[in-house]
């Protein structure tokens, strides 16, 4: 038997379980009140979004400001599903979302296999095909979903109510993450071929469009329960500390394992040098899309969790000004460092929402956002690479293949050794 877990893995799992246990004890004994509980959960959610963005920007080098848009999509989709379940007592949202995401997911994967054989297909045409397929599948899902709903509602009602709620919640969060990933696939397909800054601007435009659509969600999109610019209320508050921690650990492990695989090395090579990566036979477009979709998946996941923290969603939360927050967090923590991202996300939540709000003297609450950019400026001026730089805790560190010793030939021996 080989050792199943290495020492660093055990350390990581032990530390995260310990941290969770300590927090849970502190919360149950009321040392940390509800306010801090909320802030810690928001910190965890921000960590998940930022890990996703770090995958896109920090590891793959695609300057994306659209993370917040996918976060918003995830939040509203998950909230709508659980709202329909808890208020309308109907699983129609769940069923339709499930059918729509799985059907279009299957069709996208199938088309991808087919389209890979067609040489010279430009991204825009591919986008058109995928878009048409997705729209057809969503319509089909709607049609089938309405018919199937009563049966599913009945089946879920067999479970005790709290358990059914939890099941619906977790499935809703996962499905909304898949939805965000599929939308990011459709959107990223034509957009990722743009250059870095233009990609950033287009994704910024995407977040703004999403926000505007959410502002008019009740009139234009027809989701009356989202209440448009008045804000959606009545979402069950299901996101417990456990779920935040669970999904955070899962996403950290997911990204870590991805980055340790050959896929991950390909993703990083795209960041380092696209031309060199292409010369090594790496399909750049493929890996850009992969990183973008996975990053957006995490954003959607975090959005679904966020929606169920306060039980209230407002389009202003997804304002494009806020879309800089994950970007600030990853740069602050260190681009290409998961450790730094998680640390910075919690620091961001604790400092900005917690400490500054509580400890600034009366009448100085408005100084919160004056102090925050100053902190940011000072950090950027003193440590432009972020707090952690590229440091990682041992569990998350890349395993680089051992540097091959140069062949024992006398003429090039000395020069190569001097370099390594």
């Amino acid at each position: 038997m080989t050792k199943k877990f290495s020492k660093s893995t055990l350390w990581f799992l032990g530390a995260s379980i310990l941290a969770y246990a300590v927090l849970e004890i502190l919360i149950s004994t009321q040392i940390l009140n509800t306010f801090w509980n909320t802030i810690i959960r928001i910190g965890g959610v921000m960590a998940i979004v930022s890990i996703g963005l770090n995958l896109i920007y920090g590891f793959n080098g695609q300057f994306s400001l659209g993370q917040w848009g996918f976060y918003a999509i995830g939040a509203y989709a998950a909230a709508d599903v659980t709202y329909r379940w808890s208020i309308n007592k109907s699983a129609d949202g769940l069923v339709v979302l499930f059918l729509a995401t799985t059907l279009s997911g299957i069709v996208i994967l199938w088309l991808r296999k087919k389209l890979a054989n067609i040489r010279g297909l430009d991204p825009l045409s591919a986008f058109t095909i995928y878009l048409a397929a997705t729209i057809i599948m969503s319509a089909l899902a709607w049609w089938v979903g309405i018919a199937v709903t009563p049966a599913v509602t009945g089946a879920l009602n067999i479970l005790p109510a709290p358990v059914a709620m939890q099941v619906v919640f977790v499935i809703a969060v996962l499905l909304s993450a898949i939805l965000a990933a599929e939308i990011s696939f459709l959107f990223g397909l034509p957009i990722l071929s743009l250059g870095s800054d233009y990609f950033g601007i287009a994704t910024l435009g995407f977040s703004i469009i999403v926000k505007i659509l959410l502002d008019n969600s009740d009139t234009l999109l027809g989701f009356v329960e989202m209440k448009g610019a008045r804000g959606m209320v009545g979402i069950p508050k299901e996101t417990s500390l456990f779920w935040v921690f669970f999904f955070l650990v899962v996403s950290v492990v997911l990204v870590r394992n991805l980055l340790r695989s050959s896929y991950g090395r390909a993703i990083i090579s795209v960041r380092e040098d696209e031309i060199a990566a292409k010369a090594m036979g790496i399909d750049i477009a493929e890996y850009k899309i992969l990183a973008f979709v996975l990053g957006s998946f995490l954003a959607g996941l975090a959005g679904g969790l966020y929606a169920h923290i306060n039980g209230f969603l407002h389009p202003n939360t997804f304002n494009f000004i806020k879309s800089f927050d994950p970007m600030i967090i990853i740069v602050f923590g260190g681009l290409g460092s998961i450790t730094g991202t998680v640390f910075a996300a919690f620091a961001w939540a604790l400092i900005l929402e917690g400490v500054l709000r509580l400890f600034l003297p009366q009448g100085f609450e408005t100084w919160r956002f004056v102090v925050y950019p100053l902190l940011l400026l000072v950090t950027m001026l003193l440590r432009p690479k972020g707090i952690f730089g590229e440091y990682e805790i041992p569990f998350l560190r890349q395993i680089l293949p051992p540097i091959r010793k140069p062949a024992e030939t006398p003429e090039n021996n000395s020069t190569v050794e001097a370099q390594s």
Binding site: S125, A202, G205, N216, L220
Partner: protein
């Protein structure tokens, strides 16, 4: 090889990317069709919207110039530029209300005709906000951007966002500007003319505009005139003067420009100052046009002007101008004919579509590979 004509046609469709192109064409045709219908239904209303769009577009053009110049020279998306625009509006507001700067000519030389003293006063206010913004931008550049010139580009970008937040929330403090909406006091009275086939009538005093006329206010004329003058001034500076030549050379290649004896830091500061001065003028014009200012007013116009600069091809001055006019028209016309809440979404969709068709914008040059 399969060489049947149908297979060849399919091959051709795929190779030329016709599917994507026809998709975009379909969207464009829908929009054009909507516009043509609107034009047929009520050409006067349509023209009125175009005039309104021009007024907005010229304000955007002034802001967009600052974005495009700064991006062209240091490759930095200067997110703080929109807030410099806001500061310009506030400076003009305070120089009017606190210091009565618009009446200094009248007070010093009572014999001067009213019109002349008014123009001198308004120009002074505009000059004050331009100078204040230029100074602010130079300070920002020196403190926040210069130390990061050799750092990764993202650090400078995050710093720009930080500066933007700082300016906004600092301006929102009670003792700085104000956290509330402020009604702007115009230095110039609004006069509206109704222009139609029956000649020009001056509105005011309860006269209803005659049917079939287009309304143009003196504000719109002032905005358009000022913007054109400033734009030509900028074009002159960039193309004809020594500073402009130095700016162009720094934008082309910073290292070589430095080797040629150009003080690149001074040139970069000058670029920031000129861009900010234009934004200051735009701030005043925007405040005059919409007569309401508050500390967040810079964000959305700033963003749209930035989009305009990208649309026109970032780094290009005529591009920023054309892009801003397109943005102004797109905003007003889509608000009038397609959907009011969706007007920003439509503006950004236009951006995305233009980027897909021409990734460097309308007038942009393809990115040069830098060693």
């Amino acid at each position: 090889m399969n060489t049947s004509p149908i297979a060849q046609l399919i091959q051709k469709i795929i190779k030329q990317g016709w599917m994507g192109k026809s998709f975009l064409l379909l969207i464009t045709l829908l929009a054009v069709w909507r516009l043509v219908v609107a034009l047929q239904e009520n050409p006067i209303l349509f023209l009125q919207q175009v005039v309104n769009g021009l007024q907005l577009g010229f304000v955007y053009a002034l802001i967009a110039l600052g974005y495009t110049m700064v991006y062209g020279i240091v490759r930095l998306i200067n997110f703080a530029h929109g807030d410099v625009f806001m500061v310009g509006a506030f400076v003009s507001f305070y120089s009017i209300t606190r210091f009565q700067l618009h009446t200094w000519a009248e007070r010093l030389f009572p014999a001067m005709p009213d019109g002349v003293s008014l123009i001198i006063g308004a120009l002074t206010v505009m000059a004050a906000s331009m100078v204040a913004c230029a100074l602010l931008a130079v300070v920002i550049e020196r403190i926040a951007y210069k130390p990061l010139r050799n750092a990764p580009r993202i650090s400078a970008l995050i710093t720009a966002i930080g500066v933007s937040f700082f300016l906004e929330y600092f301006a929102a403090l009670n003792f700085v500007f104000s956290p509330n909406f402020i009604t702007y006091r115009r230095p110039i009275e609004v006069v509206t003319w109704a222009i139609g086939p029956g000649g020009i009538t001056t509105l005011g005093g309860g006269i209803a505009p005659p049917p079939g006329t287009i309304l143009i206010s003196n504000i719109a004329l002032i905005i358009i005139l000022t913007s054109i003058i400033l734009m030509f001034g900028l074009q002159f500076i960039v193309q004809k003067t020594r500073i402009g030549k130095a700016m162009r050379s720094v934008a082309y290649d910073k290292q070589t420009a430095r080797l040629m004896g150009i003080n690149t830091d001074a040139i970069i500061s000058t670029t920031f100052a000129i861009g900010a001065a234009l934004a200051g003028a735009a701030g005043m014009l925007y405040a005059i046009a919409f007569s309401q200012i508050f500390f967040w007013m810079g964000i959305i116009p700033g963003l749209k002007s930035f989009v305009a600069a990208v649309l026109g091809g970032i780094g290009s001055i005529p591009g920023a101008f054309i892009g801003a006019l397109i943005m102004g028209q797109a905003e007003v016309i889509s608000a009038a004919y397609i959907s009011t809440p969706l007007r920003d979404a439509i503006a950004f969709s236009i951006l995305i579509i233009v980027l897909l068709v021409r990734p460097t914008g309308i007038f942009g040059e393809p990115e040069r590979e830098k060693a």
